[in-house]
């Protein structure tokens, strides 16, 4: 009897250890802890993948971006980083130091070529570009109508008409545009970099960011002066410098309310949550207009498109095949369409926005309309700049210049000196 029990125990132990040996755990560290819509999307994708691959267990850990970046810096150095983690294409230091897995085996046929390009380094792709976003001017249709303003057919106000909106809103005690630069290095810069991009056009703007054209270029200075005129007319909240990104959302749609909100098209990931979770009020009259035409612009249809939240793989992962297989499960047109439908932000996965149905279909049509005929510059400056130019750009163009605490001349001088 004892022998029989011992034999059974050995068999059971063997079965358990065999199952344990076959189950592989893939660790994932990701941003979007506070962005429930994106989190739901990823968590659903994980569950589906695990259901189809019972031998794989994906352990996701959710962070806010700054905390995630700090954790990755130390864990990568210590060789303790997860198999897959969130990253954005500006983090070239990962690739420079050979810390990312070459993702050439990913099914790139399902990815937009420009999105692949954004993640290419020395000819090899390193990131799966899940999230893509454009800089959009959201507005409250009711408040704009109350000001007696009607948008032209192309959804783009001229420079004078835009200034008129600012003055009318201020006259009624309403903040024209909600932006806050309190906790991020980029929201305040949208106002300026979109204007400069339109004034210079794609190629010249590219040269400006590379330091091949100076910020003291007369075209840039003229544009900065135009932006300065807007901020001096009271475009931004007085709390601009300390207003955090999440607070800026609430400022726009709930309290105290602003006419416009210049933000990434990922606005939806916060605003389309339930109101008690920071979302916009039910029935909020949301509209999207184009960034206004800029005086002397050579490309008023130019705008910034950025590859944002992406997933990369640790070069030191012990499960490279499984990691690529998991990312490939995300890189399908079906998952792309689901991302559009669920998150309402663009994606680097090839997808078809016209297939979106349901309550948010109208939103996506609106987004598509303001992007018709757009010419894209890829990457916001805070992603494309590195080291000191990035730091100076952040301090000046993201913060001090729109806040009105630095003159055009001083801003130009410091930016030129940073390169």
């Amino acid at each position: 009897m004892k022998r029989l029990i011992a034999a059974l125990a050995a068999v059971m132990l063997g079965m358990v250890s065999q199952a344990a040996a076959q189950t592989k755990e893939i660790t994932l560290w990701t941003h979007w802890a506070a962005e429930q819509i994106k989190r739901d999307y990823v968590e659903t994708a994980i569950k589906e993948y695990e259901a189809k691959n019972p031998n794989i267990k994906i352990k996701a850990t959710w962070y806010e971006k700054n905390a995630l970046y700090a954790a990755l810096k130390t864990s990568l150095r210590a060789g303790e980083a997860p198999d897959v983690f969130y990253a954005e294409p500006d983090q070239v230091e990962y690739m420079e130091n050979g810390l990312l897995l070459d993702l050439s085996d990913l099914n790139w046929a399902n990815i937009e070529p420009w999105a692949k390009q954004a993640w290419s380094y020395k000819g090899k792709p390193y990131g799966f570009p899940l999230e893509v976003w454009t800089v959009e001017a959201f507005y409250n249709t009711k408040l704009l109508a109350d000001l007696g303003v009607t948008l032209p057919a192309n959804q783009q106000l001229g420079p004078d008409a835009f200034l008129d909106v600012v003055k009318k809103a201020k006259g009624k005690g309403i903040t024209p545009m909600a932006i806050g630069a309190g906790d991020r290095p980029f929201p305040g810069s949208h106002l300026t970099h979109e204007a400069v991009l339109k004034r210079l056009g794609l190629d010249e703007y590219d040269k400006l960011l590379k330091g091949q054209i100076k910020w003291s270029d007369p075209r840039v200075v003229e544009t900065l002066k135009w932006v300065k005129g807007l901020t001096e007319a009271g475009l931004l909240p007085a709390t601009f410098t300390s207003l955090k990104l999440g607070e800026a959302h609430t400022y726009f749609h709930t309290n105290p309310g602003a006419v416009m909100f210049l933000n990434g098209s990922w606005y939806t990931s916060r605003a389309f949550n339930a109101p008690d979770k920071g979302g916009q009020p039910v029935g909020f009259p949301l509209g999207i207009m184009k960034y206004p035409a800029v005086p002397g612009a050579v490309c008023n249809e130019c705008k910034t498109l950025t590859v944002g939240g992406s997933y990369v793989a640790n070069a030191a992962t012990k499960n490279p095949k499984e990691v690529v297989a998991f990312l490939n499960a995300l890189a399908t047109p079906e998952m792309g369409n689901r991302w559009l439908e669920q998150v309402l932000v663009q994606t680097g996965i090839k997808s078809d926005a016209s297939k979106i149905t349901g309550p948010n279909a109208a939103y996506f049509q609106m987004l598509a309309k303001v992007n018709e005929g757009a010419k894209y510059s890829f990457g916001i400056p805070s992603q494309r700049l590195q080291a000191k130019p990035k730091e100076v750009f952040t301090q000046i163009i993201n913060n001090a210049f729109p806040a009105g605490t630095i003159s055009v001349e001083d801003a130009v001088k410091q930016l030129d000196a940073a390169y």
Binding site: N97, A238, F240, S242, Q386, A387, T405
Partner: protein
């Protein structure tokens, strides 16, 4: 056992005035050394090592090695899985780094202003409590409370208080007809650093006050009574008797506050992250930015900043000690 517990009984729980050491504990060593050798003294080397080893191990692992390693790193480019010797390159770059020097100026301004504000206000409050003003018990607790909060909580609290639209500071200014003075206190380069200095002063005044109050309460009564017998008024008693007796405590507090502000990080990171326009950048926030936010894994340059700053802080503390003429009296 009596020979070990007796010295502790003498100093335990007592904050000192100018006569005794300002920080508790060190007097014990002097008394211990002066005490007659106990019976059975003369422990073996092995015993001494056994007792010293745990503390030494912790000291070497968590203090000495990181310090030496930081110095080592400052001469290298330190990247994941590789190091490259660069000699004095980092130091040369640091000399040309205008952002570093801006951070140095801000930090030194903070470290010089804060101790004077904190200690002088704390002294006034301590004297008020010493004189037993009405509600002294309540005020002692109320004034001390801020130091019980972490910089994180304090930072969030003051971001709200300084809010342009609805922060109490601007609301109060508008209420008394000074709306023109209302501003984004932490968003204006002209007011951001003074605002943060004010916050740290608000936070630490209570601590300084309690230490000074303890010093006042432990003043030798016979000296005070002698002054009173000589018809010494309150002012004269304060200037000629009390202040000289608590001088060492005051100087200790100044030096401790100075050192604390030279290392300040948390409050800045929570409130302004060094902005606007680097007006609140401190050396600590700049080190963090260079180490973790500049799209580089190199720890060499941030180590150089840390090494240089360590030397500057050490030199400043030694200079202060020398200036106060307290080389024999100050204990940190």
């Amino acid at each position: 056992m009596p020979h070990t517990s007796a010295p502790l009984d003498i100093e335990a729980g007592r904050l000192t005035n100018g006569v005794r050491p300002a920080l508790p504990g060190f007097g014990w060593f002097r008394r211990r050394a002066a005490a007659p050798a106990p019976a059975g003294a003369g422990a073996s080397t092995a015993t001494i090592i056994a007792f010293l080893l745990p503390a030494l191990t912790i000291y070497v692992a968590f203090t000495a090695y990181p310090a030496v390693r930081t110095l080592w790193n400052s001469f290298h480019k330190v990247l994941p899985r590789r190091e490259e010797f660069v000699g004095l390159e980092n130091y040369a770059a640091l000399m040309q780094d205008d952002l570093f020097w801006r951070a140095v100026r801000n930090t030194i301004a903070w470290a010089c202003a804060s101790p004077l504000i904190e200690v002088s206000i704390a002294l006034l409050l301590a004297l008020a409590l010493y004189a037993k003003v009405p509600g002294a018990r309540f005020f002692r607790i109320a004034w001390f409370t801020p130091v019980l909060m972490s910089y994180i909580v304090v930072g969030i609290l003051w971001v709200w208080i300084f809010n342009y639209d609805w922060g109490p500071v601007n609301v109060a200014l508008r209420a008394v007809g000074l709306g023109g003075w209302a501003r984004a206190w932490l968003g204006d380069p002209a007011t951001a650093l003074p605002s943060l200095i004010f916050v740290t002063s608000w936070m630490w005044v209570g601590f300084n006050m309690v230490v000074l109050l303890a010093a006042l309460h432990s003043l030798p009564k016979e000296v005070i009574e002698a002054a009173e017998l000589d018809n010494c008024g309150w002012g004269a008693k304060l200037v000629f008797v009390i202040l000289p007796l608590v001088r060492a405590t005051i100087l200790n507090l100044i030096v401790l506050s100075f050192i604390g502000k030279m290392k300040i990080f948390d409050l800045v990171w929570i409130t302004t992250k060094g902005g606007p326009l680097w007006s609140t950048e401190t050396v600590s926030t700049y080190v963090y930015k260079r180490a973790f936010e500049w799209n580089t894994f190199d720890l060499g340059y941030p180590s150089t900043i840390a090494a240089v700053w360590f030397v500057i802080v050490l030199a400043a503390v030694l200079a202060l000690t020398w200036a106060f003429g307290l080389r024999q009296k100050l204990e940190y």
